[in-house]
């Protein structure tokens, strides 16, 4: 997007800092400004309504291979110049890194996308509250066994720009929203939980009924759940769980991990690391992805990158730094955690290329297994450096090709390397989730289920 009245003041602030660069300096200014709303409903009333606006500036300075960074949560011009002074001071304590440099324009054009919805921007507050109340009521009406923990409407919109002394000058804006419900169903020995959500470019695209149905089904299906027997068996990961697995796989493919000797898959480009049915792409240019974007965190065009093709590792995702160090071209994958963070390489919007079988058909061919519908402890039981993978799980037993009794309080374990090779089928049921990854159901064999002895 070109400069306009609405963002010219932001560009002016960035330029005022960039213009002070001396001949040996590179300066990057990242500015973001945004607002969000969060409505939480409980028992037909608004429990809380949070209206938030935030803005800030992050400044990176590189001088003779040394990097310094500073940030502040304001766009005050005086503080911005102090931030630049701090970043310059921080440069002097940094080590020389021969690969340190800002991104440079690489000639890749931005993919035109509709990342901003005027309908969402102008959606009335009262209607946001009504939507959350409606989802709560629809959920309760479906099943008398259900209680609702909370129902949320969340939206956020923001604009950001990156200006550098190396010639990057880009601006982008986007907004997004979702609706979610957390459900409870009381059992004889505790309470089972579930959730449902709806996503869309604006609330008009929400499938509220589906969110209510998922919320009810996920909790009530677990009523009467017991601990499964420990055994090595076949698991079916539902799209929500498979998407979380994709996120973990994505982090092992970060160029930063590769150049710093922390990736399982360094030196494996061109080799088969997964089953032939597995094709993984990072595609921020697909508007259906919740984290679709036209820009990366360094102001380069976000683009579609094939990471694993038919099981073969094709490459990693790179920031300009990791690309330079790896001797490759950047893939436009610098991510930054808002104005307070420096960019690092990561996946924007992972997508697993779907197969052609529905989940029910995948299950029909399994004699003994478990359908996994929820996992926990991804941060505590998964090590992306060693590959060890162990997570808590809930789900449904599969017996003789059909869904049988519910199961809970068990773990599933393997290693990331083995999980990829043990994938048997990829389903057709790709789901778009409010996450950085979207997947269909995945069937994986020889996974250790640990439950009762």
């Amino acid at each position: 997007m070109s400069e306009s009245d609405s963002n010219s003041e932001l560009f002016a602030l960035a330029d005022s800092l960039i213009d002070t660069a001396n001949s040996s300096e590179q300066i990057e200014v990242y500015i973001s400004r945004g607002s969000s709303t969060e409505v939480r409903v409980h028992n037909g009333d608004v429990e809380h309504f949070v209206s938030a606006m935030s803005s800030g500036i992050g400044v990176r300075v590189i001088n003779n291979g040394r990097t310094g960074f500073a940030h502040a949560g304001t766009l005050d011009a005086e503080i911005a110049s102090q931030v630049l002074a701090e970043a310059r001071e921080n440069v002097s304590f940094s080590s020389v890194d021969e690969w340190a440099a800002l991104a440079e324009p690489d000639g890749v054009d931005l993919t035109e996308q509709e990342l901003w919805s005027d309908e969402l921007e102008s959606y009335p507050t009262a209607d946001k509250i009504e939507l959350a109340k409606k989802l709560e009521q629809m959920t309760l009406d479906r099943d008398s066994r259900i209680r609702v923990d909370d129902t949320n409407f969340v939206d956020g919109g923001g604009e950001g720009l990156v200006v550098t002394t190396t010639g990057i000058r880009r601006y982008g804006r986007s907004n997004s929203c979702y609706l979610s419900v957390s459900t409870l169903a009381d059992d004889t020995d505790g309470t089972r939980t579930g959730f449902g959500f709806a996503v869309g470019a604006h609330p008009g695209e929400f499938d509220v009924e589906r969110a209510a149905r998922d919320g009810v089904d996920r909790a009530t299906r677990l009523l009467g759940a017991s601990k499964p027997a420990s055994r090595s068996t076949t698991v079916v990961l539902d799209p929500f769980v498979a998407s979380q697995l994709l996120g973990i796989i994505g982090s092992t493919l970060s160029g930063d991990s590769v150049v710093r000797g922390r990736s399982l898959f360094a030196d494996r480009v061109g080799e088969s690391i997964a089953a032939p049915t597995f094709t993984l792409v990072d595609d921020p240019t697909d508007r259906r992805a919740y984290t679709a974007t036209d820009l990366d965190g360094e102001g380069l065009a976000a683009r579609r990158n094939v990471l694993i093709d038919g099981g073969e590792l094709r490459g990693f995702v790179h920031s300009s730094y990791s690309a330079r160090r790896a001797g490759e071209g950047t893939t436009g994958n610098a991510l930054r955690g808002g104005y307070a963070g420096s960019p690092s390489a990561g996946c924007h919007a992972l997508q697993l290329v779907p197969g052609d079988q529905a989940q029910a058909d995948l299950i029909a061919s399994i004699d003994d297994g478990v359908l996994i519908e929820g996992v926990s402890g991804l941060h505590s039981g998964v090590n992306t450096v060693s590959g060890d993978f162990s997570v808590g799980a809930t789900g449904m037993s599969i017996r003789n090709g059909a869904i049988a009794e519910p199961v809970r309080e068990f773990t599933i374990a393997s290693t990331i390397q083995r999980l990829l090779n043990d994938i048997v089928e990829v389903g057709a049921d790709l789901e778009w989730l409010p996450m950085r990854a979207s997947a269909p159901s995945l069937v994986i064999r020889d996974v250790m289920v640990s439950g009762s002895s």
Binding site: H42, G381, S390
Partner: protein, 463 residues
């Protein structure tokens, strides 16, 4: 930060629709961080964030708005936005009279981190890197960081609370990668302190670097963890996260109020082994979850949650304590001025028992010894929780034997609490934790003596 006459006007504006409660929370934060990775200083960063959040509670509805501009005009606008969000009530406007301002003791700081030159931090991290690499030739990568934060807060509310406080924290972390025939492994250690740089006179970074490196190297030959149910012995100081997840979250009054906790309605009942006395205490000197006041301006306290296995009380925030007409427990916390306060833990720990720690191991025929836990998480409604084992070993015939690969353990809170059958005399607090709830992270401490759970499900891959 904000004058008291301005606070009066802002609180009155916040109650322009007649709401029963209004609050201003303002803070000024500064952070400095030095990161070392890959044999070089990877980044030196500084941050400054300042702003205020206005909360208005009107019946069951809370409105919240915040601003990074502390001018009266901007605060009044935020107050009006929060008031509008909370909706209208029948009651008329009430003039707020603030109590006399109370200042928190502030963090006891002997050596102000802001006065420690960045060059000194670089020196310390360089030494950590060298030591970790010297431990074993298998060490291939070291990452370490030193950071500090200073936070000045002001809290004023329509119940008359008017508090200011200052908090200083320092944090060190190191993680090591070792490479062997069976692939890479990692080791990690951290040290967090609510206080100043003097903590580094009391603890040795060299020891932490050595331990992280040895952990990674030991695991190079680790065997797959078992699957199924076994007795689990957890080393002193590292297992507090078990209680944080198994029952801590479930004792937070917000989950209780919604009937989304297995511990709802169970005060006075036996909910754990009679060996267990669980305390949440925000006043412990220097601990990671320590504060003079919580983020609603209530003094922190020592709260006994479970005594000899019997559930004594939940943890409370200001509004729920007020509604119940009981004294607050000092557990209303928030990540920053952009976030609503919630019921949160501070430092949560189990008091020492009477068993000799050595006996706990030697009396375990076959089981798992966890020397260091990773993080964890819990579903408070079902009580099912997991936590990771970062450094664990097999116990065979009462002896600690081979190292195990990483994995999660899973259990159900009330069941695991009642299955604690041995509790050691060797209490200690553990490392710094960040507790996540509803998207907000706050610093927390945990602690316990060596203990045994008679049966837990181990999430390994071995049959």
């Amino acid at each position: 930060m904000i004058e008291s006459d301005v606070l009066d006007r802002v609180l009155n504006e916040a109650r322009c629709h007649g709401a029963g409660f209004a609050e201003v929370y303002a803070e000024d934060r500064r952070n400095t961080g030095v990161a070392f990775d890959d044999r070089r200083v990877d980044g030196v960063s500084s941050g400054r964030d300042r702003g205020a959040g206005i909360r208005v509670v009107n019946g069951v509805t809370t409105g919240y708005a915040h601003t990074s501009d502390l001018s009266e005009r901007s605060l009044l606008a935020a107050a009006r936005a929060a008031a509008d969000a909370a909706g209208s009530a029948d009651g008329g406007s009430v003039i707020v009279a603030l109590d006399e301002k109370r200042s928190g003791a502030g963090t006891k700081v002997e050596v102000d981190p802001q006065a420690v030159p960045k060059a000194r931090r670089v020196e310390m991290l360089t030494e950590v890197d060298e030591i970790a690499r010297s431990i074993n030739g298998a060490v291939t990568q070291v990452s370490a960081g030193l950071s500090d934060s200073y936070r000045s807060v002001l809290i004023a509310n329509s119940d008359g609370v008017f508090v200011t406080d200052e908090v200083t924290r320092v944090l060190f972390r190191v993680s090591v990668v070792a490479d062997g025939d069976l692939g890479m492994q990692t080791g990690a250690e951290s040290l967090g302190f609510t206080g100043g740089w003097e903590v580094f006179d009391r603890y040795s970074l060299a020891d932490l670097a050595t331990e992280a490196a040895e952990q990674a190297v030991r695991k190079l030959h680790a065997r797959p963890a078992p699957s199924g149910q076994l007795p689990v012995v957890i080393a002193q100081g590292t297992g507090g996260v078990l209680f944080h997840e198994a029952c801590g979250h479930g004792l937070e009054a917000d989950h209780i109020a919604k009937g989304a906790s297995v511990y709802a309605g169970r005060v006075g009942e036996l909910v754990a082994s009679p060996l267990v006395t669980l305390v949440d205490d925000g006043t412990v000197d220097g601990e990671w979850g320590t504060r003079s006041f919580d983020d609603e301006g209530q003094p922190t306290r020592r709260n006994v949650l479970i005594e000899d296995g019997v559930l004594v009380d939940y943890m409370w925030d200001h509004i729920r304590a007020r509604d119940e007409q009981r004294s607050p427990s000092g557990n209303g916390r928030r990540q920053d001025y952009e976030s609503l306060p919630m019921v949160r833990m501070t430092n949560t720990f189990v008091l020492a028992g009477e068993d000799d720690p050595g006996d706990i191991i030697s009396s375990t025929e076959h089981g798992v010894y966890v020397a260091k836990l990773g993080g964890g998480s819990v579903n408070t409604a079902s009580g099912d929780f997991v936590f990771g084992m970062r450094d664990a070993y097999l116990i065979e015939n009462g002896q600690i034997t081979e190292p195990l690969r990483e994995g999660n353990l899973i259990g159900n809170g009330p069941q695991v609490l009642s299955d604690i059958d041995m509790l050691g005399t060797d209490f200690s607090m553990g490392g710094p934790g960040t507790c996540g709830k509803d998207g907000q992270g706050v610093p927390v401490g945990t602690g316990q003596p060596t203990l045994r759970v008679s049966s837990m499900t181990i999430g390994g891959t071995a049959a």
